[in-house]
Subunit: 133 residues, 2 copies
């Protein structure tokens, strides 16, 4: 059996928002949203999910781990694609229910399974989508 990863709970709103203790708030499914941006260009590459184990592994290994909601499993980004994401900085938001990681994508430099550099390759314009690759 794998040991459960656990993080403490903030004792107060002030501790949650202003404290120096990492007390991530996972949702009812045990997940926290994580946005990855390119450390050099600032481009938003992807938005994915981490469970406690994925967050712990991301912080301890310096590479992005996520939790796949569709496959229901822990997922080391780039394990098959080579698009490993080296963590340059990790941040957490005011109420500690979202994570922002600044990464340098390895391999071909992309982040999206479609082959696009970023998953956000389409702009919404006049109700339709326009390719901005």
């Amino acid at each position: 059996m794998r040991a459960m990863t656990s993080f403490p709970t903030a004792p107060s709103k002030d501790a949650l928002e202003q404290g120096e203790v990492l007390t991530p708030r996972f949702d009812a499914n045990g997940l926290i949203a994580a946005v990855a941006t390119h450390a050099d260009t600032g481009e938003v590459l992807m938005l994915a999910w981490m469970n406690a184990e994925a967050l712990e592994k991301t912080l301890s290994t310096g590479e992005a781990w996520y939790f796949s909601r569709s496959r229901g499993e822990l997922w080391r980004k780039g394990a098959t694609s080579g698009q490993v994401q080296k963590i340059v900085e990790a941040r957490i938001d005011c109420d500690q229910d979202a994570v922002w990681i600044k990464v340098r994508p390895q391999g071909d430099g992309g982040a999206c399974h479609t082959g696009a550099r970023s998953c956000f390759y389409r702009a919404i314009e006049d109700g339709g989508l326009v390719d901005r690759r």
Copy 2:
């Protein structure tokens, strides 16, 4: 009674990922994650949620609307704080379950209820949090 806002559903994976039709995929709670970055600096300002009505209003008004999970209500960003977010560009990701908006914050130029410019004012370092305001 307010009319329901509705978006079409993609007929195929190819249409979802490569098509020109906006077919956002809301989760079991009717929500889609939305990340807002500053259009000029690229800084990630906040990560919040939109229901179909919030997304529709964001696209039709050119200002960010969200859905507050804690208050259970539609929320025009900046209605009370003045931190209205003018939309410069809106994007959607490969599988259309996340939105990225590039915004110009109005009012005092901030986005966070704590007074910080960005909600992500703390970096995670050595398991603790460090203020990066």
